[in-house]
Amino acid sequence: MAYVAIADQEHELHEPHSFVAKYIWSQDHKVIAIQYSITAIIMGVFGMVLSALMRLQLAFPDTFAFITPNAYYQHVTMHGMIMVIYLLTALFLGGFGNYLIPLMCGARDMVFPYMNMLSYWVYLLSVILLMASYFVPGGPTGAGWTLYPPQSILPGTPGFDWGIIMMLASLAVFIIAFTMGGLNYVTTVLQARCRGMTLMRMPLSVWGIFVATIVGLLAFPALFVSAVMIGLDRLVGTSFFMPAILSAGKNLDYQGGSPLLFQHLFWFFGHPEVYIVALPVFGIVSDLLSNHARKNIFGYRMMVWAIVAIAALSFVVWAHHMFVSGMNPYFGFFFATTTLIIAIPTAIKVYNWVLTLWRGNIRFTVPMLFAIGFIFTFTNGGLTGLFLGNVTVDLPLSDTYFVVAHFHMVMGVSPVLVLFGAIYHWFPKITGRMFNETMARWHFWLTLLGTYAVYLPMHYLGILGVPRRYYATFGTDFIPDSAQSLNVKITIAALMVAAAQSLFFINVIWSLKKGKPADPNPWQATTLEWQTPDTPPKHGNWGPKMPVVYRWAYDYSVPGHHQDFIPQNEPPSGHEATASEHGRT
């Protein structure tokens, strides 16, 4: 028996007419994607403001009275958590996942549209809970984004009373929202692909989002478990993680708990989280590079396998975040080895991106600039990861700015570059308008060069031994004055990068009103989302007729064809030279 879900109904879906049904309680995946994206970007801007405050304190200590030590730690904690969870995870999976999966797979919508809508509203609730922690006594938690016990729930840490509870509640609610969305993404990819869209014809963007979602569905429960258990330690006095401890001269009731157990649980989520963000990035950047280099992606099958391999390996490397916590040397050896092994599929991807560019007909469009910027940045960040993956190198560097520089290059700047590249790439489809090219180019160069001015010197600070997480470090014997002057320069660069982001927002607002109307397929792309009958696509995406796919997503510059791309839904013609020859590169 065949089952027809809303995602692959043959008949057209009727567009809702009321404002509320269309934009607020919408079940249309595209509107939900935009809701997710706007909320996540607002959170991202807030996170960026927090980082600016941190940088001000580091460069100009004792200057800003309102940045107290407590406030500094709260900024550090909220910045980390917001950027990793509420911006990057929400935007790549909730935003791009929602927008791209049904369109790229040729479905009318997600398979469970109502649950998809709920997913966004529950996500919004988690955001509200998180932000509400600014209004509870003691303010938000300042425990660091890893929330390690025992310090996270003991006096002395900002927000140890209410802030940490709000954070844990918000995370638990976020995980529920993610699960609702994730079930949709996985089931839609498995069940609602249009006719002809085999798994191996899916664009790599969908592959990245699909596999990242599976990783998320299996890894987020670890964060849920640790959040619930630490919440119980704090609220009802269990001793899951809390050892017997003396606090402010008083013996607390806790006994026998294991802080290391929390670290294992947290990082069992925490490391796959890196790939929950990175895999969609890998997929999206592959599509950007192939499209704007007018060349098929190099080694498509290898790219798919690398995504799957990275996802599998991401579950067996978590303890490299815990080398300084102490462990059996054999475990250290095991986790260092798995960490270095994960570099193999990752390097395969980087080589394949470069080889995709090799002898391509490169168009230096704005999305392409961001994609190329990503390759450089990700390679830089990845190489320093090789240093930190080794136990003996990690130990002296772990608590320094070297680590801050490493993870910001690989997990901060790299995904954000792809994020902007992707927004510029799909902006014409989402809005029906072209963006302002000049402003976008300025945005790219200021962001790229600015972030390098921030993070490259930070590696040097780390090698000097400047410790991270400290409110004020200078005036000590082991940190030279030159490090402080470098810190000032880093802060100036960081503030300039932050200011440069206003170009993006001005561009979006200006283009929405005055941008040139977009062609349905301005980048001459092959994938299905560019072949919709309407731009922007209407509710149900495909009008009366569902698409049929005849080929993979990378038929660019096929010899003998009258144009340099063949859309996935274009039937094969008699004289068509198939992509078989040039695809075997």
């Binding site: 609602a192 670890a222 119980l232 806790y254 708990g257 099958r301 198939t578």
Partner: protein
């Protein structure tokens, strides 16, 4: 032991090969024609969605169980370690209710397949009743532990008992929510709706949570 591990590894390899490798070894750049293997879905999305959800719950409980065993390990505990306690006898009766609930749902599902609306109604009612009885029994067990001499929240054995039974109970409550909607619809109907999958999905979910409980109960009894 080694032979069984080998057999399991072999079966896993065959499964992975069948599900993944064969599909992912296609060369999509060679042929340009409509794929005939992708048509309307052969399974309802809700069924696939449930199985994906069960994978998520499996991950959740597996992590809870792992945390349980790691916390028991004296090498991980800093200071006073785990203090085992006798589990309330009512848990055996609760287990019986859960088994009966599963059987009743299976009975309801069979009735649905054969189009017997009265049996379906009875099966659904019995399935729900047994789960409610199980949950009431769990609350009684909680009370018994709370009033016992050995009760101390700082004892992780006690903490985990409450935590794991609560998480399992919450999953059952979620199931009851879906069961409630399905039962209301069935109660008002004169004949079986053959297109609906809700009863089948509830049955799978009941069986799954029975399995989780049996593992959890075994863990609680053995420690």
């Amino acid at each position: 032991m080694q032979i069984s591990t080998l057999v399991i590894a072999l079966l896993t390899a065959v499964l992975v090969w069948t599900l993944l490798v064969r599909r992912l070894s296609a060369k999509p750049w060679i042929q340009a024609e409509a794929g005939h293997d992708i048509g309307p879905a052969s399974q309802p999305a809700s069924k696939v969605g449930l199985w994906v959800f069960l994978c998520v719950i499996t991950s959740l409980f597996a992590l809870f169980f792992t945390a349980y065993m790691m916390r028991m390990d004296p090498h991980h505990a800093a200071g006073v370690a785990w203090v085992p306690f006798d589990k309330p006898a009512i848990l055996w009766l609760n287990t019986l209710f859960l088994i009966l609930g599963s059987l009743a749902m299976q009975w309801a599902h069979a009735a649905e397949l054969h189009g017997r609306i009265d049996t379906l109604k009875a099966g659904m009612a019995a399935g729900g009743f047994c789960i409610i009885a199980f949950l009431v029994g769990q609350i009684i067990a909680w009370e018994q532990v709370r009033n016992a001499d050995f009760f101390a929240m700082t004892n992780p054995a006690v903490g985990f008992f409450y935590l794991l039974t609560a998480v399992h109970g919450l999953h059952l409550l979620g199931g009851l929510w879906v069961w409630g909607g399905a039962t209301l619809r069935i109660w008002r109907a004169d004949q079986v709706n053959s297109g609906s999958t809700t009863v089948e999905l509830c049955t799978v979910y009941w069986h799954y949570l029975l399995l989780v409980w049996l593992l959890l109960f075994g863990l609680l009894l053995s420690t």
